[in-house]
Symmetry: C2
DNA sequence: CCGCCCGTATGACATCTGTCATCCGGCAGT
DNA sequence: ACTGCCGGATGACAGATGTCATACGGGCGG
């Protein structure tokens, strides 16, 4: 016991990543032994370094921190997972938990909570902002079906129905139907609002 | 001369802000003497602390780092300005320079460049990513008129023409005209794409 | 086995959006 | 004084979008 806690840090923005590493480096009992900038490099790096805790940003190229968490949880269940994100979206919290995360932190929480969380998850605790947890429970589950989500995601960039139909191998009418039901489920008036709301809730 | 360089750090996400402070704290010659989380607190903090360099994130509540830079430049022209941002949007670079910034850094640049930039601006140099500078020059100036930008910004959340007309005290037809010309200037096919492109270029 | 939801599709309809021509008053350059 | 651009507006039109009813096959829970 109690040599240092070995941490893998995954975050795409170098400056932020190295700054977080500097922050954790100030702690006597924590050592950042690996850094990656892409979600799809997490698992390999974890295998290569024998780590105790993985600190994962959600928004990353390659794959999201949540997907990375899920894979890591399957392949190396002993590794504790701390998910870190810019956006406190309740849906994110929900999916992070389903992926096996032990802690969920938003980046506008005080920096001290980071090292705190690392130590706590290693001790077997879970770390979740209670406000966010309440919000996640209050808003209920994602009402969108898989297809509705796919279409909405594809529609986010302003693609037209015809383009969506082509891209998703659907008829144009079907695309409209999915968007229509999504719009109704989200209680908004057009696809743009639907995309916005779904994003805010972390349902996209 | 040459005691330490006194830095003000403005960034809304506590964890990132304190991590950057930790990073700069590792440098012998740099000292973070003040931290703020809002753009509209920058000027007051600068007055209170007699700083050499202000390090400003763009995306902040209160006001943007660019607006804060402009005010600081007017009130305390001796303070050097480093603008830091997540998004390498050419339009941001342009407006940052117009606001009097001495350096423009994107957060996915290596962390070492941060301290580097602080030292260089103090020495009277300017620090700009050459790739970004080229992009900013290549894309030309913002082609949108004030009103077009306003309408586009207001349309970003999915508001309908009628809502936009009400909000901006315009006729519905005028709203459509502005959106139409914006769409044509940006060479896209609908308002959603127009918003996306304008955002990407930093023209919004 | 029956109902229910999902994925997919069609057709009809109403409304919203985008385009275009045209107009006005004001202001800046030449 | 003339020209051109901007802000603002109207009307007409085509095409995109949103709604609704309806249909069919597959799967899953009761």
């Amino acid at each position: 016991m109690s040599s240092t806690i070995k941490v893998l840090l995954a975050e795409d923005q170098s400056m932020v990543r190295e700054a977080l590493a500097a922050l954790l480096g100030l702690e006597e009992d924590i050592e950042v032994v690996a850094q990656v900038a892409r979600g799809d490099e997490v698992v390999a790096a974890a295998h290569a370094h024998d780590i105790d805790v993985a600190l994962l940003d959600i928004e990353m190229p390659g794959c999201t921190g949540i997907e990375a968490a899920a894979r890591l949880h399957r392949e190396l269940p002993a590794v504790k997972l701390v998910v870190l994100t810019t956006f406190g979206r309740p849906g994110y919290l929900r999916s992070a938990m389903e992926a096996g995360a032990d802690a969920f932190l938003v980046k506008d929480a005080p920096a001290a909570q980071l090292a705190e969380a690392v130590r706590k998850v290693l001790a077997g605790d879970r770390v979740i902002d209670p406000t966010l947890a309440a919000a996640a429970l209050a808003e209920g589950a994602n009402p969108l079906t898989d297809r509705e989500r796919e279409v909405l995601r594809a529609a986010a960039d302003g693609s037209t129905n015809a383009e969506l139909a082509r891209a998703l191998h659907l008829s144009q009418g079907t695309v409209r139907n999915y968007l229509s039901t999504a719009i109704q489920k989200l209680a908004v008036r057009n696809r743009t609002e639907a995309v916005r709301i779904a994003r805010e809730k972390g349902w996209l």
